[in-house]
């Protein structure tokens, strides 16, 4: 796995979490700019999914097993879109708080992905 990509996704996820956490703190729902931010983070996760699969196809092996690696890649990709839809359904500060929680979860998944790949 590209370490740079993993780090970039984790940092972007944390920035998104802080941004939406700020919105929740100010009692605001998610707005268009937040959704653009979510799209950027989702795109990073999608690139990561593709890169991960390409590396598997080239015969490289994750340290902790291919199944777990692919499961985490898919989970990381699905994470932010899921909270995006939930914040569309909940147009209050709590929708923003959910996106913030989603960003934190994605950052944790990145750490796990790094471990699973083996550094």
């Amino acid at each position: 796995m590209l370490v740079a990509l993993t780090v970039a996704t984790a940092v972007a996820a944390l920035v998104l979490a802080a941004w939406c956490g700020w919105a929740a703190y100010r009692d605001e729902p998610t707005k268009d700019w937040h959704f653009i931010g979510m799209a950027v983070v989702s795109l990073l996760a999608l690139v990561q999914l593709v890169v991960g699969i390409v590396q598997l196809a080239r015969g490289e092996d994750p340290e902790q097993g291919t199944t777990i690696f692919v499961a985490y890649l898919i989970g990381a990709f699905a994470c932010v879109p899921a909270v995006a839809f939930m914040s569309l359904a909940e147009r209050t500060r709590w929708g923003s708080a959910t996106v913030a929680a989603g960003g934190v979860v994605l950052a944790v998944l990145q750490v796990r992905l790094y471990d699973i790949w083996g550094g």
């Binding site: 097993g65 909940e90 709590w94 708080a97 929680a101 944790v108």
Partner: protein
Amino acid sequence: MAVDGKSRRTRLIGGPGILLVWLYGVMVVGAVSRSAVQIATEFDKAPLAYSLSAVAGLVYGFITYSLVRGGERARRAALVCCAAELAGVLIVGTWTLVEPSAFPDATVWSDYGMGYLFIPVLLPVTAMFWLRGARARTAGAERGTAPGRRDPAAEPDA
């Protein structure tokens, strides 16, 4: 989420409830997929730990379903499951600390859920407070106002 046709049911996913649904959803995916992989590939290594993770996943799944479904019966069922979940976290957490040899590998509830940022022990407590309040909110307040946020018109004048 389709709530319109059945707005008579106590809505459990409004306001802070949506955050609970997300966190429970994450725990469902985490616990179920983890135990599925472990039971399928290395069940003999730590049968007790993996079975407990699977049970935890089922409990989380049921609570998530109850929250999304809404209604008084779902609310009570979720409340019971949260209590069971809390008991499970505390018992298994203590068990793993007192007798680590029984658990060659970790469960979702090992060390009170430390591997999951202690979410397993914090979540049921938060959810129980939320579910307790949900009944009072829908019984008294008008529908249409966001739950979790006070309706100024409903406040009695001081």
